[in-house]
Structures are given as C-alpha cells and as structure tokens.
Point group: C2
C-alpha cells in the first residue's frame, strides 16, 4: 500500500509518498480503507519529535507511516474479537498514528459509525477537533447553561468545533479571537457572539466589556505563554482554564500562584493524542451518543478548509503551519 | 463586650484585648455567645493586610474585631427571618470575621449544630480545617476509592483534617510530609500510611517509590513556589493539584506549561475565607450531612493543639507563626 513517511534529511525532514508495509491487525482492531484523513498540529509535533509527543532521539529514517491521528473510511477486515462492526461499515475515529495511508488500523473500541448523510470528507473532519472540544468543554470545563466561553483561534479546527458545541447549550455566550475579519465573520456564522481581532484589539478589554467586568467562565487556550497574563485577567472567579496548546510558547517566565488562588481558577493541561485507549473509547462513545444525530440534523457541521491528495501531504501541512486554514485540512487517497 | 482588635503601631501592629461594639445583626443572622474560636493563617494574613485577603491601604487603627473566621458557641439571639435555629442551640461554623470576641454574628445559612458528644473546644476546631479539606478533597480533588493523596504539612490543622477525611474512603493511601518525627508519628496515629520528614528526605523520591513510579493522584499543596518542581514530579498522570497556601512563596520563576499538559494535570487554586456566603452555606450543609455523625462515633476527631485565653491572642498567633502546633490552636473566653 501507499503511505506517507517522514524522511530525515541533513537539514531537517520531508514527507515522502511511497510504498509502505500494511498495518498489523490485532484481534480487537478494524482494518480501514482510508477515504480521508485529517491533518493536525499533533502531526507537525510528531514529525519534529517535539517534547510530549514522541520522546527520545530523532531517528534517522522512519519506514512506517506514523503521521495521521484520525480517519474516515470503510471497514475491510475485522479482528477475531470484534463483534460490533462488520466489513463494509462506514466509520470514523481516532487512530494511533498511521492515518496518512491507504489503509489504517483502528481499535474497534473507539470506532464511530458515520452519522447518516455525511460524506467521508465531512466525517474525517470530525474526530480530533470535536472530541478535543467535547472533552475540554464538557469533561474539564463543566460547560453549562448561561456560561461565557472565550475561544482563542476561533477559526481553527478545534475552534470551529468548540463554537458549535458551546452553542448547543442554552444561553451561552461565545467570545472568539482570530487574526482576520474573514475568519471572524466565519466564526460568527457558526454562532460566535463576540468577535475579537487579536491583531488590532486587546482581547482582555473586550472580554471584560462583554461580561460586565466578570470575565469568561471558560477559556480554551491554544496559545499558552504569550497570553498567560491576559488570560489570567480575562478569566472569571471560579473560571476553568483549559490549556490545550502552546502556539505562543510553553515557558511562562513568572507565575504568581496567588493570582490563581484569589480567583479560584482551575487550570487543566490536556492533550488528546497521548491519552489511553480506554479514554479515547469512552470519549468517542459518549460524544457520538450525545451529538451524532446533531450532524445528521445539520445542527452541527464539520468545517472543511481544503482537501489535498494524500501525496500532497507536505503542502497540506504547510497550509496549517502558515495558519491559513479555517477549519480542517484533509487528505484523500487518489484512488477514492 | 470584649474582643481583640488590631492596633497599628509605627513598627507594625499588635493585638489588643479591649471593649468593642457588639456586632450588628441582620434578619438572617444568629448572634452567638462565643465559647471558642479557631486561630487560622488567614487571620495572620488579614492582620497584615496581605494581598488576596484584604486589599487597600493599611488603616491606622481598627476599632472593630475583624480577626477570627470560625467559632463555636450558644445562640443568644436570632434574626427575624431565621426559622431553623433557636436561642440556646449549640452551633459551630464560619463567620465573616469577628470570631476573636465574646459575641459574634453568624449567617444562619451556614451554622452547623454541634455533633452530639463534642465539647465547644472540639467544635471550634472543626469548621475551617475540615471544610477546607472537604472542599478540596471531594469537590476539587474528586477523591475516590483507591486514590493516593500527598498531604504537605500533615500535622497542620488542615493536614490533620485531610488525613482523616481521606481515610474515610476505602483503599486510599495517605502520604504526608512534616518537619519532625513527633509530628509524623501523630499523622500516623490519624491514619497516614507513608511518613516523610521533609527536612531529611527528598519527598519526590519517596512518593514515587511508594506509588511504584506512578505519583500521587491528589496533592494538597500549602507550600507553593518552593515545592513547584518537586510537586510536578510527584504528581500522577491526570493528577489533581490543589493549591491552597503559599507558605513557600507565591512566585514561581519559571513554569513550563507543557509539563502540565503532558501529564494532564489539573491545578486548582482555592481559598475558603473569600468564598461567597452561598458557597459556605452549601459546603457546611453537605459536610455536616455526610460526616457529622462520624464525629459523634469517634471516626473523625477534631485535633486541638492548645487552648489560649482570648486575651492571649497574640501568643496564640505566635505559636502558629512559629509552626509549633499539631492541629488547631484555639481561643476561649475568660468567662466560659
């Protein structure tokens, strides 16, 4: 089969489309013919072996497909222990790497039947971003009626999913930041209530203004260090601060713990990719049960930015690195 | 009536026992003849007007009793709107300052009937430390069967309460740190499983050893900055880190957010004294309903270090400042 491998070079690395070995199937796995695969920041981190994603020395060459944490496709083989899926089923879900390929292995415990009415490209745009937004908003953020949520990078994949999920809860207010009017307008079309261009405005001032000085109950923070002080000023008493990325750096030069104590802040650092199989299974099931129908009904929609051919994975990742996307960047197989 | 006021002097301040005005009663309040009052670190902070407790300029003199956040005593008067307490009831609970006095005002919504069999001095040793431990362990820490809890300052008021509350949950492991063998032995008598003398041992090594490298599921952190890195190394994946004091400083010179993200850590900064009346009422009711009987049965016991006469409040606070206490330091009225 064909797939993308990371080729280490003297100056860095590149992605190569080539023949690779088919994945090995365990008895609890599904073998999926991949129809579409999502591009995620975690792939960029894995590729460059950044801390927290893949520890250890940089290998000189990788011969197996390791990039790609979510796919949609057709079940072509099932492990001996699998009972709840059949060959031919259309599924979507998280994989433990290997999504940038013609075939991929997915533990059946976390596979989700594709909601009726969705294309494979819609479906591949769901798992990583909606599950990330779901675990953060509902499990860690304790989102409930009437809450105000500040979502940084509102036009990102997770951002567009989070805006929609928050607005499924009555009387919530969504405040988003983004770097262009175009992105903000798109966020508004998804339901965002307050739009902040971070390049032109001080987001803290706008958040306090929009909440009558109270601040946001929940912050979805993809930025980290460079926004630390401003997030702290923007959060409400008893606020829940969800730290899920560090696009603005990971090292905060000075933290006053008393600032967190005074406001009774709960700060949760979390990632999805390194979670256990059990966690991913539980999250996938709960999410699909609660919101699967909402996709069919059109209340929730996967946001697809651009679809690249699998062989163009390098260009697809470059688009993400350049922050050009609104919603998900996907890869499809030439054969599809 | 008599009470303790903070007298500002040119070099600092001192506590004076003198005639003070009686508290003003609102319709939802109880007037309590104070039998005993707890000394807490929050009193030391209030006295010195430290950030987070009492903002604004240092007044030159304070003519009303402001110290003292918990008392036990007898109801001598009830507000017009109070229905669930009567004159003569024996109660304990949190007050909004004013506990270092002969009489104090307590909102009826948070008053707790003293569990049968307890003396007033036992009862005054319960509210602040047991409610603090309860909110942290059960509300923020999500304590459940089989968890391992690291409690710093195990012999402190909150520490001794926390050890006992954790051990009410089956199959839990309590690891404590303290600065002397005597304190550690006392912690053991309350149920602590692993004893660490922080002056002689590296607590991180001992915690990892005791948990087969997994780390503690919950950390009760009264120390803050000086333990930051060691707590981070000592916490388990998905651990809950409860920051409730900063005896070791509040300013952490460098925080790597990725360290929190990699381990999926939830850090909650919290204090009890500045919480809302509604919060204190809910906490007091829930705690008493769940654990009130356990005091009568002897499964839980208030730990009293030493009882001072109200007029000796200065000496009582000094004992706390010097970290000499094991359990609670109390004040009683001469007239009792």
């Amino acid at each position: 089969m064909k797939g993308i491998i990371v080729k280490q070079t003297e100056t860095g690395n590149c992605l190569e489309y080539q023949d690779v070995p088919a994945p090995h199937l365990e008895s609890s796995d599904l073998l999926i013919e991949v129809m579409a695969s999502g591009v995620n920041r975690t792939d960029l981190m894995t590729r460059n072996r950044q801390a927290g994603y893949a520890d250890g020395p940089v290998p000189t060459e990788v011969e197996r497909v390791e990039l790609g944490v979510e796919i949609s496709g057709v079940v072509v083989q099932i492990g001996d222990a699998v009972t709840d899926f059949s060959v031919g089923d259309h599924v979507m879900g998280l994989v433990d790497g290997g999504g940038y390929a013609e075939y991929a292995r997915m533990p059946a415990s976390r596979a989700m039947h594709i909601p009726e009415g969705l294309e494979f490209t819609d479906a591949a745009a769901i798992p990583e971003v909606f599950l990330t937004a779901y675990q953060n908003l509902f499990w860690h953020g304790q989102l409930s009626e009437g809450k105000t949520v500040l979502i940084h990078a509102g036009a990102s994949g997770v951002g567009t999913a989070a805006i929609q999920l928050v607005k499924q809860v009555p009387n919530t207010t969504v405040i988003v930041t983004a770097g262009s009017q175009e992105k903000l307008t798109f966020c508004q079309s998804l339901g965002a209530d307050v739009l902040i261009n971070y390049k032109e405005e001080n987001f803290t001032e706008r958040v306090l203004e929009a909440t009558e000085g109270r601040g946001a109950d929940i912050i979805m923070d993809f930025v980290g260090a460079s926004y630390w002080s401003r997030n702290l000023e923007s959060i409400a008493v008893e606020g829940r601060w969800l730290l899920i990325g560090a696009l603005g750096g990971s090292l905060v030069p000075e933290v006053q713990l008393f600032d967190l104590m005074k406001k009774f802040v709960t700060l949760t650092g979390t990632l999805l990719t390194p979670r256990t199989a059990e966690y991913k299974a539980r999250l996938s099931h709960e999410f699909l049960a609660r919101f699967g129908q909402a996709f069919t009904d059109g209340q929730l929609r996967p946001v697809v930015d651009q679809v690249f051919d699998l062989s163009e994975a390098e260009a697809a990742q470059q688009r993400m690195k350049d922050n050009l996307n609104t919603g998900k960047i996907l890869l499809t197989n030439r054969s599809v």
